[in-house]
Amino acid sequence: MMDNTMPTTTASDHPTSRPSHRVGRRHALECMIWAGTGVVWTMSGGVPVSTLLGTAKAADAGFSFLQLSDSHVGFDKAANPNALATLEEAVGKVGAMKAKPAFMIHTGDITHLSKDVEFDNAAQVIGKLKLDGHYVPGEHDMIDENNGKAYLDRYGKGSNGAGWYSFDDHGVHFIGLVNVVNLRAGGMGNLGAEQLAWLADDVKGKSASTPIVVFAHIPLWTIAPEWGWGTEDSAQALALLSRFGSVTVLNGHIHQIMQKVEGNVTFHTARSTSFPQPAPGTAPSPGPKVVPAGELRGLLGITNVVYKPTATALAITDTTLAG
């Protein structure tokens, strides 16, 4: 039927439409103001408490771990001409912390285009943390020509399927899920039957009092279906976790902080270390948000938010850090 069809891929550069790869010092520093962020999680009575990096309260006691997300190493467009530099800035902030996190979780989109050089550059910078790293892929990490081999060769050892796995640390059961492969037309993120079956088996026999932390790239609750910001079969995954007293779900993908509590489940999305994306309903598409230089500090004031679940009610209050 299709024997004389000819798929080809061509690349054409339009130098005039591309920003210069050379970044002026002033521009790079401006980007770092809003982009060089990470989140530190502290386990407190089985309830994770998040603190934005750079705040005085970060990881002041107990067990904490670091979440980085959406580094997009290789991205060089107007929204941030040097995503590697802003990742480096985030890493530098971790280095300045008094209490070192126990390990790092990266919730995906380590790279922009799954290129070897991007993975290598990211690994070199993240390596400066000198922390054990636990990764899940974003969709940008699975677009090499071998359907994710570049990512899985680096980070998939000991994992299942497209890279999902679990581990235990400090009495917390951590579950890394992959919802960025085999996406269906018209749909959102997808876990799939094989991964759900694995998850059911993974938590079987665990005490309901075990604190659970789930991390995956695309949010596991529906934020904006028109932009694909959600996971189609996340309800099935959450049903498998409903008997647990404390479940925390950490995601990335949307390059902005969103958080909600539903029953015993706390959902949180992390900021990106590379570029901001618009809030749902405020832009025609979820593409990178170019921030005018004059608005950067205002944005910083609005987005520097600390969320603190109280120990008694699992409610969350937010406080801006804007001074």
Binding site: P7, T10, A11, D13, K77, G187, W227, S285
Partner: protein, 120 residues
């Protein structure tokens, strides 16, 4: 060696011409056109434009990504799949056979489009 190569090329060309003639007669194409018809689908702001493109059989369609974010052009039934297209990169596919082709972005599956190849 050179002589052998030339012969091989000539034979290959002959085969190609024969194949073309056979194909053209089977598909009842109009008298040998100079160039195959072409059409373009652009990607701007996470949208395929036009959302539905109607073409004749044999049209070569170029999908061009104008976003700062990569996209993948994937046929729902697996007939074609592009590589990740970075900014200003494009993917070409020649639609030889009449029919409806639903496609989407493999990275952002809420992005959908359709190519209608109308029979002649």
């Amino acid at each position: 060696m050179k002589k052998f190569t030339r012969h091989t090329r000539r034979d290959g060309l002959l085969l190609l011409v024969t194949a073309l003639v056979v194909t053209l007669s089977l598909t009842r194409a109009p008298a040998l056109a100079d160039d195959p018809p072409t059409a373009t689908v652009t990607i701007d702001n996470f949208v395929f434009k036009p959302a539905t493109l109607t073409i004749k059989p044999g049209t070569k369609v170029t999908f061009v990504n104008h976003d700062d974010i990569p996209h993948l052009v994937v046929d729902t039934t697996g007939k074609f799949r592009s590589k990740a297209l970075d900014t200003d990169q494009s993917f070409e596919f020649t639609f030889a056979t009449a029919g409806d082709y639903d496609y989407y972005c493999g990275l952002h599956p809420h992005m959908k489009g359709k190519i209608v190849v109308a029979p002649q």
